[in-house]
Symmetry: C2
């Protein structure tokens, strides 16, 4: 599941996300890529689908946006559950892992015999700078 060479469209989308200073919606990405020939949402969504699969991009469910993984190189998927803190003022996102949280949630799912496939942890609020 590690990333093979990206196709042209995948590379363009990834590049936009990496250079952005916060999460972007698919349509914002589309707008930024019109000069590179992008014309339709599907071009973005199809690239995102692969980038998510490769683990180099994350989807923020609570704000319908996408962000480049903060841990380039390491395969983020292998770190267990990924959590995000999202500043609702400046849009900055912090990505982190907490194995103890993973364990607690896994304990719960084991107890319920629930087969977890994908777990979302997103904390929305204000970053230190914006809360001041």
């Amino acid at each position: 599941m590690s990333a093979p060479a990206l196709t042209k469209n995948q590379a363009l989308v990834f590049d936009v996300l990496e250079k952005a200073d916060g999460p972007l919606s698919a349509y914002t990405i589309l707008d930024k890529l019109r000069d590179h020939g992008f014309r339709a949402p599907l071009q973005v969504y199809r690239a995102l689908e692969k980038l998510l699969e490769y683990g180099v991009v994350h989807r923020l469910e609570s704000i319908n946006s996408f962000v480049a993984c903060a841990h380039p190189g390491e395969n983020c998927h292998s770190h267990g559950i990924v959590a995000f803190a999202i500043c609702e003022s400046c849009g900055q996102v912090m990505e982190f892992h907490d194995h103890e949280v993973d364990h607690r949630l896994m304990d719960w799912t084991r107890g319920k015999k629930f087969k977890a496939e994908k777990t979302t942890i997103e904390i929305r609020g204000l970053c230190e700078a914006c809360a001041a």
Copy 2:
């Protein structure tokens, strides 16, 4: 923040959610209430906004749906973070709380001086029955 008497529209929406055996989208709720005079999405969204505020309904960010709180009576907001396990096959939702998870996440936010406002924890996968 505990629930005052619900208005007519709020009661209708809440009733639909309580009787449902799983989460519903706003537009599904709208369809179920057409016979009761609902004509537009805003009627649903405005009711949901209040029900969420009162803590008697939860929003599932990862599936753009809404579900009645599984803990009627108790003020769910006071239990700390609410977590959900969502079966992607049958749609069933289990709601639970884990104070240890809360503590770990609060420790992290304190360390980063991040002011958390709303935290989402959603586990998607297969329930025991559907995983068999």
